[in-house]
């Protein structure tokens, strides 16, 4: 009995440990989330806002800029995330081979890009693909291109450059997770599969992928959320152009709030669209990945 009251008293002291962090998250995360919703119900310019009901949300469906930015982000998502995650999985599998020589050097190089900032990687790739940049020079020297291609002002190639930059920056990051996941798998499973005559590709699909399912789910959710919130690369490589061909939703929110004559209410409505997309896609992924 005395022991239990002591535990109770100590657990009460424990609250003091968790309160500061909790307060910060409530004030700087949950509260702004609620106030973004209230803001999304108002319209007007600058700080001159009036209650507008759901009008901002109705406006979303007629706003070509918004719809284009959603389409762009979905394009990035559908093309980039699967390629990157497959590449990361293959790299992790190769790096996990106990007989591989020079493993730590390979690993260092593959992880290296995640030590750079998104702005730096965007600038490096932007100069690669500038009209007189390295990519054009190399492709012309190889005879693949006859005249320089204006990568960043072409609606499709500009997207390609953005996807390439993201893939370069994040593949190693995801490899870190898969490698950690693979190292948890008992090697004897592969041994017995080999004795049973399973080929490497069969081992990959029948053992590796099912056992890595939780990690694959985690990386898929992280990459999806990251892509839906894409900002740094687009702003610094193309600034959304040509026209609005590469504009992301986050950049549109930024423009609405800080570049154009500020429309905070409408920007908040657009930002709720991201929130809803993140929630729906995460839910679908958890449902699809959670089945065992």
């Amino acid at each position: 009995m005395a022991q239990r009251t002591l535990t109770k008293r100590i657990n009460r002291v424990g609250w003091l440990f968790v309160i500061p962090a909790t307060v910060f998250i409530f004030v700087l995360n949950f509260y702004p989330m609620v106030s973004a919703f209230l803001l999304s119900l108002q319209s007007g310019r600058g700080n001159n806002l009036k209650y507008a009901g759901l009008r901002n949300y109705a406006r979303l469906f007629q706003d070509e800029m918004f719809l284009t930015s959603v389409g762009n982000v979905i394009t990035y998502l559908v093309i980039q995330v699967p390629i990157m995650l497959m590449a990361a999985l293959v790299l992790a599998t190769l790096l996990n081979d106990p007989k591989l020589k020079g493993k730590s050097i390979f690993r260092t190089f593959i992880f290296l890009p995640c030590a750079t900032s998104l702005v730096s990687s965007a600038m490096i790739f932007k100069s690669f693909f500038s009209i007189d940049g390295l990519a054009n020079n190399a492709l012309m020297a190889l005879g693949i291109l006859k005249s320089p291609l204006s990568w960043l002002t072409h609606p499709v190639w500009a997207k390609f450059v953005i996807i390439l930059t993201i893939t370069w920056r994040w593949t190693g990051y995801n490899t870190v997770f898969y490698l950690a996941g693979l190292q948890m798998i008992d090697r004897s499973i592969y041994e017995s599969a080999r004795i049973d005559g399973a080929s490497s590709s069969r081992q990959f699909f029948m053992i590796t992928i099912p056992l890595l399912k939780p990690v694959i789910l985690l990386t898929t959710i992280m990459s999806t959320n990251g892509t839906l919130q894409l900002f740094d690369e687009v702003r610094n490589i193309t600034n959304g152009g040509p026209g609005i061909a590469t504009l992301s939703i986050s950049q549109y929110i930024y423009n609405l709030s800080f570049i154009y004559n500020p429309q905070f209410g409408y920007a908040a409505a657009v930002s709720y669209a991201i929130l809803v997309m993140v929630a729906i896609l995460s839910f679908i992924q958890i449902k699809a990945g959670g089945k065992r």
Binding site: P20, M33, S117, Y173, V176, F177, Y272
Partner: protein, 270 residues
Amino acid sequence: MKRIKGMDILKYVFLIIVCFCSAFPFYFMIVGATNSSVDIIKGRLFFGTNLWANIRKLTQTVHLGRAFWNSLRNATVNTLASLFVCSLAGYGFQIYREKGKDTLMSLLLLSMMVPFATIMVPLFRMFSTLRLLDTTAGFILPTISTAFLIFFFRQSSESFPIETVQAARVDGLGEFGIFFRIYVPIMAPTFAAAAIVTFMSAWNNYLWPLIIMQSQDSQTMPLLITGLTAGYTTDYGILMLSVTITTLPTMILFFTQQKRFVEGVLGSVK
């Protein structure tokens, strides 16, 4: 047997190509810092002699020292504050575990699903009312407490022996005394891993400083870089130099602390 040898060679060739693609942009960046803009555009891929000229030009065009100091100060204060707040919470959630705290922890984890884009406009309005624009406090507050770090410390605390806590209590040490005098020293590797990833993300942070660091005096390195491309013509020499200067601290951290970096990235995924 022969076929397997062939597969092995293919594996190494593939890995070498991947490593080359991974490293080449860094090589391009560092070489670029030593070349003139014209040479970079021409595609020169060897070290040049223009480094001093680039340094001189960069320091004349922008306040490099000030931006570097701003980045260093913001990222350092952010790291120390985050580690303090989140380690306390992670320890609290694990050592004083009970139903109420577990529920609160799951609630806090939900904050990871809130996109920054959703909260940035209200945060900006809140911070401008509170006159926190252009301040270090304004820079660090939104990232001071993250569910990721709290959870990382909570999971790491699982390996911390509860007997040690009980023994320290018998010796008359208070609850906070146990945390600071026993937990912190024992968990130093966990703190190091958390510090590295927190420092890197604060150092590289772009969107939030872009919004709140409005005066030139509070500019950070990523903002300085993007400022260099704002004009009509971009000087690629000084651009690559500033990108190199921004990347070097995080690269050095990565090369010297790779194991801790990986632990920090993985966080609580185990």
